[in-house]
Amino acid sequence: MAALFKKDWFGLLIVVIVSGLAIAVLKPAFLSPFNLYVLMVSISYMLIIALAQMIIIAIGQMNLSVGAIGGLVAISFSGLMEVQQVSVPVAVLIGLIIGMLCGFLNGYITVRSGISAFIITLATLYIFKGINLGITEAEPFYNIPETVKNFGNAKIGNTPIPFLIIIPIIITFLMWIFMNRTETGRHMLAYGNSVQSAELIGISSSKVVITAHVISGFLAAIAGMLVVCRLQLGTPNIGDSWLLPSFAAPVIGGAILAGGKVDVIATSLGVLIVAIISQALVIFKIDPFFVQIFLGVMILLAVFVNRYREYKQEARRKIFSSE
């Protein structure tokens, strides 16, 4: 228990619990089965989108093309099933491969050219989105197989828990193990912390950067396919609005964009905070445009809090070193 207090994400957990309780007291409808179901569905793909961005933030870069990869995979997935009559597992597999290929392209070009990932992924954002629009001509695919539709609607037993959420929970768990318990994950954090020192101790930058981008593409692909299951159709504009939330959750979770400091649990709590409060705004019938403002304010607030904490830590370090 004492160890729990010391965790960086402990404050976030408090925010989640307090805000959840406060909203539930003010509006008991917040805890209605339907509302909990909607909340968990939105959490399920937001979680994966946030992790797709988090792993790139871990190595000190950013990936603007997360949404574009998700969109491209979403329409390939639904297009393969509708037009080419491909079976569902094969379509999922091809979708994942497309996502990883897109990620590989991002990572490979970034490493080989030495140009900032921001510009590379801005370019690939337009390339992937262009392919997406070129294939679909902005028309959605409506005829998704029943199995996929049922999967998107299924609930676990009589509970309001959507079946969809199982995938993000497994992935979050695997990501936690990857970032905290595997060599590659630790190497990524070391690389994000300081590229020079990571190279000096023999970490291969190309391996780290490409792996991170491939994983990011893989996660974006899963998120894209989950959204197809949820919407029951593959529209070309899936992924268009992912940019802001993908950064919001890791930043609220305390990730430092310079790299080297991310936390899977804190990012997940960041997703929870964003989802709970956005949902609350809907319940309180607040102007939907306000959600946008609110997300922006949350990011800024998180930035200030992180800054303040760093400042305190530095002050404490100074006291100790003067003794």
Binding site: S116, F294, G296, M298
Partner: protein, 328 residues
């Protein structure tokens, strides 16, 4: 004297100028209508706005940062101006000044938050982008202002030089010269560059780096508002969706022009005329691709490829110039 010519040939601007000429030649021979009076006039209006957007991003890239909120600032300024002119009935000139003031103010907010928190401007402007855009949509209820003064909208459709060129382009070119003068010949312009190139050294030599960074963000907001004014006179209305969702449609031209034009993303080096040529090249290519019947949906794909090729080419050029310097 002899030394000056090869120097110019090695510059990025020269390469861009060649590319612009080559593509003009290709498009004018392979498509009908590229050199028509109508097309050149349309091109000049689009180029004018793209140049301004590129310049607005360039001045923030100078600090090593970026301004994702540029489009949102532009739309806010345009809607504010539309409100001033249509609802409040403020005359055109004061309205324009108010719009520029609005842009600078929103830029100032970006600057002050970036400097005070020390967080990368990417996160700050990502947040302010959605805040500005959200407020704008709430206040306007997503309604456009379409009854702007005629004198204001006439400016956007006026034709000069035997009806070939829009006056909007003159505004942009004049802005380029003004910025060139600012960065080359004035004290403050040089301080801005010094602060971007090496903040520690600049601080040590008595420049207030923070203040310079705030100025850069204000200038970016100012130029973003100017771009929005040009766009409003062109469309003839102030529309909330004029820069797409959250103003993100401006991002690609905003980064393409300076990056192609040789502005370093790490800050401290900019090229005003490079940015201008970059914007010209991008608009030219987009227009040519449309005329070649590439199909509207593939245009984005090609723009992405162009950006990628441009940065890769720039990298190779840098590599070879560095190599030739070392050899000599």
């Amino acid at each position: 004297m002899n030394k000056k010519i090869p120097n110019f040939i090695y510059t990025n601007q020269f390469g861009l100028l060649c590319l612009v000429l080559i593509f003009t030649l290709i498009f004018s021979t392979s498509t009908d209508g590229f050199t028509s009076r109508f097309n050149i006039f349309a091109l000049s209006r689009v180029i004018a706005i793209d140049i301004m957007i590129g310049l607005a991003m360039m001045v923030v890239i100078l600090t090593g940062g970026l301004n994702l909120a540029l489009g949102a600032i532009g739309v806010c300024a345009a809607m504010f101006g539309g409100w001033c002119m249509e609802v409040l009935g403020i005359p055109i000139i004061p309205s324009i000044l108010l719009m520029l003031g609005m842009g600078s103010f929103l830029g100032w907010i970006n600057g002050i938050i970036t400097v005070k928190t020390g967080v990368h401007s990417f996160v700050v402007t990502l947040a302010t982008m959605s805040i500005y855009f959200g407020f704008m949509t709430m206040l306007t209820e997503a309604e456009a202002f379409r009854r702007l003064p005629e004198l204001f909208t006439d400016f956007g459709s006026a034709k000069l030089f035997n009806k070939y060129v829009s006056p909007l382009l003159l505004v942009s070119v004049a802005t380029c010269f003004a910025l060139f003068y600012l960065f080359r010949f004035t004290d403050i312009g040089r301080k801005l560059i010094a602060a971007g190139a090496n903040p520690e050294a600049a601080e040590l030599s008595g420049i207030s780096v923070n203040r310079m960074f705030i100025y850069c963000h204000m200038l970016s907001g100012f130029l973003g508002a100017l771009a929005a004014i040009l766009l409003t006179t062109r469309i003839g209305a102030a529309i909330p969706s004029m820069a797409g969702q959250l103003g993100m449609d401006w991002l690609l031209p905003a980064f393409l022009a300076p990056v192609i034009g040789g502005t370093l993303l790490s800050g401290g080096k900019l090229s005003v005329f490079g940015t201008m040529l970059g914007a010209v090249l991008v608009t030219l290519l987009t227009n040519g691709l449309y005329l070649l019947d590439v199909g509207e949906f593939w245009i984005r794909f090609f723009l992405g490829i162009i950006l990628l090729l441009a940065v890769l080419l720039d990298r190779t050029r840098e590599y070879f110039t560095l190599k030739s310097v070392i050899v000599s």
